[in-house]
Amino acid sequence: MGRAKSRANGKSQTPLLEWIAAGIGLLLTLGMLGVIGREALNGETEQLPVIAVAATRISPALPGYVVAFEASNKTAGTAAAVEIEAVLKDGEAIVETGKATLDYVPGHGKAKGGVFFLEDPRPHTLEIRALGFQTP
């Protein structure tokens, strides 16, 4: 191959494309190491996740209604198997509860899901929160 020929000439020539490919590789590798290294030095991953859940949309389902929610993690600690509980209340009385499980909510990231209710949630108070998680 080309390399073999140039070796026969006694000198190896590095093709321009090789420099370009290695350059791109170097940039990507250093960038990757930089981002991960910064995270490693911060030690932020030791933080416990703090997950805020907010209902984003309510629409009719068959039967009943579906409430879409977005769970956002406010810290750098990732939470796995996150249990979400949504409670419909009428004053102090609980009308209906719904549950959902999110595979994971990454540190400073978001995950979406939904809960089904038979009752129309709109006339009631909707409380939605994360119950617990697993440390991945």
């Binding site: 390399r3 073999a4 093709p15 490919a21 590789g25």
Partner: protein, 281 residues
């Protein structure tokens, strides 16, 4: 291939093969759910260390194969950089195609997910040349001689075993099943698996380890090969298994017997990887 005269064109073909190899070797893990989470949840310092170890292994693989024949260690470094780049780009492209990378995700998360997937992909990129250009023809003869000369040393062989073990262990380790299988097995199963791993490793080392050579390397007989390759090979497989388990946080807080069980389980694919490394690289 033999008709192309431009080294750039040839290198371009090598890069194209590298992308193909990256996708072939990367796909099983790109499609594994645990890996998406591991990219985010793996301790960043351990991930960083693994990326550096992987880079060193890539340089070594470039010595013993790679997607381009190399003359100097500096060229091996260039090739390792290119393979890393190909691994990152191929992983990012496939993850994006699967809808797993979204613009609203934090940068750390995107980088973590791509970084961990780029490890097997870069491995594939490096091996692509050998795997996808098997029919290159007569000119390979001279190169293969040099290749064989490089790999001939005992240290080189053990290095290849380590690389093979690392690759297969890395492919198996992300799943929950590694620990679960360890729990399912009784100590007798573990002992049987150790024995089976050793036998399989020895059979493969002896049968394919010296492939392409008419005579047994250095006249190594079956007994000597056992002590020269099989025993250290299995030791390497176990160490690599522990290292991979530790990287993924699967060795944390575990009791010694649980960790040992998981090491034996993971040591099985690692031993197979160690044994066939010479065939693949």
């Amino acid at each position: 291939m033999t008709t192309s005269s431009s080294p750039n064109r040839e290198y371009g073909l090598g890069i194209a093969r590298a992308f193909a190899g990256a996708i072939i070797f990367g796909l099983p893990l790109l499609m594994t759910m645990e890996m998406w989470l591991l990219g985010i949840a793996t301790h960043p310092a351990r991930l960083l260390l693994f990326l550096i170890v992987n880079f060193v292994v890539l340089i070594g693989l470039s010595r013993f194969g790679g997607f381009e024949r190399t003359m100097t260690v500096f060229e091996d470094v260039l090739d390792a950089l290119a393979a890393s780049g190909v691994g990152v780009l191929a992983s990012a492209a496939v993850l994006a195609l699967f809808g797993l990378l979204r613009p609203d995700m934090p940068l750390n998360q995107i980088v973590g997910m791509v970084a961990i997937q780029s490890i097997p992909a870069s491995f594939g990129a490096m091996l692509a040349r050998k795997q996808l250009s098997a029919g290159d023809g007569s000119e390979e003869g001279e190169d293969d001689e040099e290749h064989a000369a490089r790999t001939a040393g005992h240290g080189g062989q053990l290095f290849l075993m380590m690389a093979g073990a690392l690759f297969l262990a890395f492919n198996a380790a992300p799943t929950e099943e590694m620990i679960l299988i360890g729990f399912k097995m009784t100590p007798w199963h573990s002992l049987a698996l150790i024995l089976a791993s050793l036998l399989l490793l020895h059979a493969l080392v002896f049968a394919v380890g010296f492939a392409g050579q008419e005579q047994r390397h250095d006249g190594y007989g079956i007994h000597r090969a056992f002590f020269a390759y099989t025993i250290p090979g299995y030791g390497i497989a176990l160490l690599v298994s522990f290292y991979v388990l530790w990287t993924f946080g699967r060795a944390d807080g575990g009791e010694l017997s649980v960790i040992a069980g998981a090491m034996v389980v993971l040591g099985f694919p690692a031993a197979v990887g160690a044994a066939i490394a010479r065939l693949v690289v």
